[in-house]
């Protein structure tokens, strides 16, 4: 009986999963048909975009555009994650620090991040460093705010009990505080990854000399529209892969939190 219902549940899950891919297929087919009917040079068909993508992968696109972008993305994201978590823990744990920083942090995270690109251009010139700095300063906020809020909302009994049992300093942090706030940190990191990807592209369009953003924009300027679309497709896949890896790691690390995290909001 139980085995039967479990099998039914699995079948249903597989069915939903399959429907998801059917939905994607329908959308791609709609793109193909619309572009083929419209015949506009500005909207290539899905198949010709795929062909352009295939061509790009065979050329120097991967080493000279994709790899630099990935390196910038990873460095910027890791820097923002580390600083965000450390500062967030600090401001969340100490009320005084939080009170003093709230207004400044509120303002900084409300600032539309693309506005920082001109400043980074002045400070670091064209190129990779500028892109990394912009990514880090944009992606830090969701991590910092989530970590800080979660740490501030920790049950005092939890921390006090651990203290009474003799846990101090780094042990208290590693064994009690971090596990308790990690679901929120993960939620913040997941937002930060998509922020990083978005900012990467604009920064590279405005001031890159290589990278996917640079590629998309220079393809557009030289009227290689199909290549532009193929670049966007690459980003689409990158975002999807990053998001999937994230969900996978989150589920592995936070098994005990299942049901609380991973609800698709934000």
């Amino acid at each position: 009986m139980i085995a039967g219902s479990r099998r039914a549940a699995r079948l249903r899950r597989v069915g939903f999963w399959a429907l998801g891919w059917v939905g994607l297929g329908v959308a791609l087919l709609a793109w193909q048909v619309a572009a083929a009917v419209d015949h506009s040079p500005l909207i290539p068909t899905f198949t010709s975009t795929l062909a352009a993508l295939w061509h790009m992968l065979a050329s120097s696109f991967v080493p000279s555009e994709l790899v630099p972008s990935m390196i910038r993305l990873v460095i910027g994201f890791v820097v923002s994650a580390v600083i965000g978590v450390v500062v967030g823990l600090f401001t969340g744990y100490y009320r005084v620090v939080r009170d003093w920083t709230t207004a400044v942090f509120d303002f900084s995270r409300s600032l539309p991040t693309p506005l920082l690109i001109p400043v980074a251009l002045v400070l670091f010139g064209l190129g990779g460093t500028m892109v990394v700095v912009v990514i880090a300063s944009a992606a830090i906020w969701p991590v910092l705010i989530n970590t800080s809020n979660a740490t501030a909302a920790l049950d005092p009994t939890l921390v006090d009990t651990a203290r009474c049992l003799g846990l101090r300093g780094p042990f208290l942090l590693a064994k009690v505080i971090l596990p308790a706030v990690s679901p929120k940190i993960f939620a913040g990191l997941r937002v930060a990854i998509s922020v990083s990807l978005a900012v990467l592209v604009v920064a590279e369009i405005l001031g890159g000399s290589s990278g996917i953003g640079y590629f998309i924009s220079s393809a557009q300027q030289s009227f290689q529209i199909t290549d532009s679309y193929a670049g966007v497709l690459v980003l689409c896949l990158l975002g999807w892969i990053a998001d999937s890896v994230f969900l996978f790691v989150e589920r592995r690390l936070l098994v005990w939190q299942r049901g609380i995290v991973g609800g698709g909001h934000g």
Partner: protein, 245 residues
């Protein structure tokens, strides 16, 4: 609160006086404030232009996101059909579409607002879908048993129950939309705060550049605050979800 702001401003001033960051890259606090005063007209018309594109795009996204989110969230099959598509589109940095959008729609309000709408659609749609799907079936069954018709059910039961999640999706969209607006203005040079800041940078007018950034920050901060307060007033039944960015 005020102390923290004072310290931040102090650090900025010290950094510019001591030339830790060269004066070609950092304007002093005084110079920035003076620039805001001197260019108040240009800055406020730039902010107005930014807000216009922001508002039009966000409005379209809200209507489409809530409508489609409700339809999809109420149906199991539609939910499953859109799942993969949403997971591919959501992390797509729509800013990558700027070059293509410029080609298709030209430079102008239509293009900016269109991109803003496309980007802000996702958090609103996803949260509405999720919120509508999460409504307790007991609520719906009770309403149905009491003879409530479908449209009334959605209007009187489903949407109010999903409203807190929709609101938090909308709040994400508010700041996202502003970022996209500014990004398009930077890349396309279509006017507004983004173009103002870039033009100042290209003219080596550092104080003007910082003036534009400060005004952009104030606009963003005001929008976030206004909607946070508004939703707390409008949705007293929503227990605030802390940390939803």
């Amino acid at each position: 609160m005020v102390g923290g702001v004072a310290i931040a401003v102090g650090v900025w001033e010290v950094a510019s006086i001591t030339n830790v960051i060269s004066s070609t890259a950092l304007a002093s606090v005084n110079a920035t404030v003076a620039a805001i005063g001197a260019h108040a007209g240009a800055l406020s018309s730039a902010a107005g232009q930014t807000l216009e594109a922001w508002a039009v795009g966000l409005m379209v996204a809200t209507v489409a996101g809530v409508l489609l989110g409700t339809l999809v969230g109420r149906s199991r099959v539609a939910d499953a059909l859109t799942e993969t598509l949403v997971r591919m589109m959501r992390p797509l940095p729509s800013l990558a579409l700027i070059p293509i959008a410029i080609l298709i729609a030209g430079l102008g309000l239509k293009m900016t607002a269109g991109l803003v709408a496309f980007t802000s659609f996702w958090p609103i749609f996803i949260n509405t879908r999720y919120g509508v799907d999460q409504v307790e079936s007991l609520l719906i069954e009770t309403a149905t048993t009491l003879g409530m018709r479908r449209v009334t059910l959605v209007r009187k039961v489903v949407l109010p129950a999903a409203a807190p999640l929709i609101a938090s999706g909308f709040q994400v969209a508010v700041s996202l939309a502003l970022s996209v607006t500014v990004a398009v203005e930077l890349v396309g040079g279509t006017g507004g705060i983004g173009s103002y800041v870039l033009a100042a940078q290209q003219a080596n007018a550092v104080a003007n550049m910082y003036a534009g950034i400060v005004v952009g920050g104030i606009v963003g901060w005001m929008l976030n605050t206004v909607f946070a307060v508004l939703f707390r007033q409008l949705l007293p039944w929503a227990h605030r979800r802390e940390g939803s960015q």
